[in-house]
Assembly symmetry: C2
Amino acid sequence: MRPEDIPAIRGLDLFHDMDEGNFEDLIRAAYVQTFPPQVDLITEGDHADFLHIVFSGSVELYARWNGRETSMATVRPISTFILAATIKDAPYLMSARTSEKSRIIMLPSLDVRTVFEKDNAFARAVVTELAQCYRSVVKKTKDIKLRSSVERVANYLLRCHHQTGGALEFELQIEKRRLASLLGMTPENLSRAIKALRAYGVKVDGTSVRISDLADLEKFAKPSPLIDDSSA
Amino acid sequence: MRPEDIPAIRGLDLFHDMDEGNFEDLIRAAYVQTFPPQVDLITEGDHADFLHIVFSGSVELYARWNGRETSMATVRPISTFILAATIKDAPYLMSARTSEKSRIIMLPSLDVRTVFEKDNAFARAVVTELAQCYRSVVKKTKDIKLRSSVERVANYLLRCHHQTGGALEFELQIEKRRLASLLGMTPENLSRAIKALRAYGVKVDGTSVRISDLADLEKFAKPSPLIDDSSA
DNA sequence: CGCTATGTTGATCCATATCAATAAGTGTGG
DNA sequence: CCACACTTATTGATATGGATCAACATAGCG
């Protein structure tokens, strides 16, 4: 752990309000490692030995069943992942792999649970974090069950648009094949969905996206705060 | 609130370890009401004014978008629902309606949050509950994204089988149309999926289900603890 | 600079949705 | 208690969104 990294971790909502001594205990127990792309960090079913924090790069959460695989989420700096398994002392429900070269901090689950037991501020921060995660998955479920694939793509692009501060031109931060899986469709189908959105003023070239008629796209996509707002 | 109901609530994991005085504060502020079937209790987007507890009957959580509707979960006694919105002081992401005549306890969110702030045991119980909810939704997402509709039905029946303590004959506790929506398919498609499972020794007549060849059904369904275990 | 993974496009197939008709419950009021 | 209305379940016919297969283009990358 580089000393200069510590303030950034301390700045996370999850660790911000906890006792300084407890925070230092956690940090002392932490491992830090830089991984190349496409390295598996955890495998679903394994025991949750560490709470992971993505410090740089990005991590894909995915799941398998019966030979099939689907992308569940992308974790970007700086945030933790699979907190629930750590706290519950339960097996991971998802696997995780680096999408790009990534710096990962690992806090032993045992230490996290110990601090959780004695630090009340930390316990409450965990609640906030888990409530956030929960609501986020509920939104994803609504997205998948209530929308067609073209609608999901349209709304995904609108979410990117908002996350980039309202830019009408931006870059996709994720491979298309991964995006397809994340949105519950095949790469071929994503290609076609993107083409279908040309009719609503969306131009995609490689990873760069341009929305030429925002109103038209929104009229089609019908974004809802109860599905698409990343906070709320 | 009938005095004889209080021990049952106290017995819930969520309230079991909290301070007696705080528990009494919550109970004092509670409303109790019996609703007929098909009554809307909450509507998505509304502010979360109450934490609800299903005391008897059952409640369906569902969501709408753009004129479409999908069932998200069924809540059975005795458990709470939409804790995350209450704690985060955020709008509900799902609507809820009674499926049958139901006795519902409502704790004002404000009181729940007040107790949450001062009662550390309660705060930790909230964590456990939210972690459980989170993992449960993740499993549902995996079920939907990784399995075909027939596979989902097969695994649903196996879950019923386990929840009834291993019975090979049991009753569906939910209307078929609701089940279809819950599993992300149409009622017609559910009918056909059930018919397709005859090949694996499943006989459904009305609401009664009989599994004649468990091994065969399991071989087809390939249940996984990481998707189908209700605890874990 | 070639190799391999990714992305696109077209053709086809299949799972699931939709539409339609009927049957079977379920509840209600006379 | 039955007749009627209404909702739910089933079945068949058809339509369609999305998957699969195949071919090619493209872009990273060693």
